[in-house]
């Protein structure tokens, strides 16, 4: 699996992401600077990592979404290429309109830095084939603007089409306001696009892929992607 990790000024989670990709895909990911106009040839997976691109100026991800490389990402996604956005990456995908809705300020106004439980809603996507539907995983979050908001029509469509892929839950998979720390609508933690090739999520699975990190719940996302490409080859 050939992966490309985008780097914008202010992104700070690209090395964690590269480490996870290197470990699990056993292949060095390409680091692609925002000013480039092309993705490396043969790219299978584009990853937009977390951080504070452009200092979160104007709106989180707003400026990164309009950077030169995003035109290439758009074309790549249009042709069915897989795109994964984590945290700031999710915000960038929404601002780029590759995913619907918007990530707004956490409802309680606090930056949240802790482990959360996510219920994996479906396992029939390339991103979640490494999990079982209904499985609960524990992964860290670190964000001030993770409150997923969309209008009624969009939420209805997302739910109706099964495009909510991860939801904040209790450790035993119940949806409960006490376990939805940022107040996101319908406890949405991650969604896919209509075609199913673009996924955005607020939590950081790349930080739970090695025993030394405490847990390895995040491995399934990356391992599933590697399997997806192995089978497609």
């Amino acid at each position: 699996m050939k992966s490309a990790v985008l780097v914008f000024p202010g992104i700070n989670r690209e090395r964690d992401m590269a480490r996870a990709l290197r470990l699990i895909s056993r292949r060095e990911p390409a680091m692609v600077w925002h000013a480039e106009r092309e993705l490396p040839p043969g790219t299978d997976l584009v990853v937009i990592p977390g951080g504070f691109s452009y200092g979160d100026y104007l709106r989180c991800g707003a400026i990164a979404a309009r950077a030169p490389i995003m035109e290439a990402v758009r074309g790549f996604a249009q042709k069915g290429g897989l795109v994964l956005g984590v945290c700031n990456g999710f915000q960038i995908l929404c601002e780029a309109e590759l995913l619907p809705g918007v990530l707004m300020r956490n409802a309680q106004l606090r930056f949240i830095c802790r482990d959360v439980y996510l219920r994996v809603e479906r396992s029939d996507t390339p991103f979640t084939r490494g999990y079982n539907a209904g499985q609960v995983i524990r992964v860290p979050v670190a964000h001030g603007e993770g409150n997923y908001i969309a209008d009624g029509e969009t939420i209805a469509r997302l739910e109706g089409e099964g495009r909510v892929v991860f939801r904040y839950s209790s450790p035993d998979g119940m949806i409960d306001p006490n376990w939805n720390h940022n107040g996101a609508m319908n406890a949405v933690a991650g969604i896919i696009n209509e075609r199913g090739n673009v996924l955005g999520l607020m939590p950081h699975p790349e930080n739970h892929v090695e025993a030394s990190m405490g847990r390895t719940d995040g491995r399934g996302l990356f391992a599933g992607l590697v399997d997806h490409f192995k089978l497609a080859a």
Binding site: R59, P100, L109, N147
Partner: protein
């Protein structure tokens, strides 16, 4: 030409920052504040003298970048 683009949240969009400011004003003893919603102001210098052209440019700027039209409205004023 001077111009100002004001970006505000659409009604119905939750504004926790506005609420926090409301609370702070209350604590400061500023009475009679029923509600606060926070927006943004962009003061822009536009080259040339063509008012209509300026407005069109600014509308484009707002649609493409300054406002996220999923959650925000904007107003363009060319001041002179």
């Amino acid at each position: 030409m001077k111009a100002r683009v004001t970006v505000t949240l659409k009604s119905g969009i939750l504004d926790p920052q506005g609420k926090a400011i409301e609370g702070a004003l209350r604590s400061l003893g500023v009475s009679g504040v029923a509600s606060v919603r926070q927006g943004k102001v962009f003061d822009i210098e536009i080259e040339g003298n063509d008012r209509a052209k300026a407005e069109a440019s600014l509308k484009r700027a707002a649609d493409k970048l300054l406002a996220n039209t999923v959650i925000e409205n904007y107003r363009v004023e060319v001041i002179g």
